[in-house]
Symmetry: C2
Subunit: 196 residues, 2 copies
Amino acid sequence: MSQEVEFFFDFGSPYTYLAVTQLGRLTEKTGAEIKWKPFLLGAVFKGSGNQSPAAVRPKIMHLMVDLQRWVKLYGVSFKMPSAFPINTITALRMALAAAEKDSVARFSGRVFRAYWEENTDISKDEILVGLAADEGLDGEALLARTKDQEIKDQLKANTDDAIKRGAFGAPTFFVGKEMFWGNDRLTMLERHLLGK
Amino acid sequence: MSQEVEFFFDFGSPYTYLAVTQLGRLTEKTGAEIKWKPFLLGAVFKGSGNQSPAAVRPKIMHLMVDLQRWVKLYGVSFKMPSAFPINTITALRMALAAAEKDSVARFSGRVFRAYWEENTDISKDEILVGLAADEGLDGEALLARTKDQEIKDQLKANTDDAIKRGAFGAPTFFVGKEMFWGNDRLTMLERHLLGK
């Protein structure tokens, strides 16, 4: 039986985008299954008492340099979005709606690329509908579902669950009770999955 | 000509200890020279507007787990000291005095091991004198030198210099203007030194 990796994400996190570009390699190497779990990173910072790295000026300056090093190492495309930070709540709710159609990875992967590679404003309903359509999904239906209390509650529940289990940033991965935080801990996660 | 890596350190940082265990491998692989530069991490947090990870409860909880993963990966010895955090100012000043005798790496390496492997109270003068003696150094002379304004000023100057150049935590490495932060960026530093 393949191991399950819970992957808590918010589209607004650049290191989460970087991690997303490596998930295919991770699952190939380990046979693990990724369970995509949208959460609200802002609420995670607040709930855990942590602060966004963007709150500390020298940290954000260095983060920009560090991101480019990872982009080079991974050989991926990356463009700092003009709208940053951005409101991701509708996109995250649509990801939950997509999960009901077994399409959360496809939809979310598309949104990550749109924001972090194509400088797309992912706070806008019509943009999100179009991104869903790119993946052959009914974007209008997903958007409609974001108005339902059930989906709103799910996003809050994911966020609260992550905080309760020790999360304080993103990306956050869980394998059972074992937590891994950060794109830079993907190799640790991989080692764990391989029983090293 | 070999490249110089400025290595800003404070004995009180566990991730800096971890990095220290890998410096031999780094210099072997890259031919770089490490210039050990003691600084006061507490002042760096304050001066940069950053906060110690120890200030955020879920972060410190996770840090303990993460440290053990690195200990396993590196195959090094590690024991969380009973006195933590600890006052490192005399030890750092002695490291500066040791630098005048071209012995900063030897003295500092011994202090890192004493604190992070042997649960030694490195805030105490007599302990520090003994650790210097372990390395064949005149500990009393190094300790006497810590009372001199010149050494006190040097520690402050190193700290201010690091903050001015963008440091906000430890360990911090510089190769010219390129900054690398964290034990977990040693591979990035290595790639940079190898021109990758």
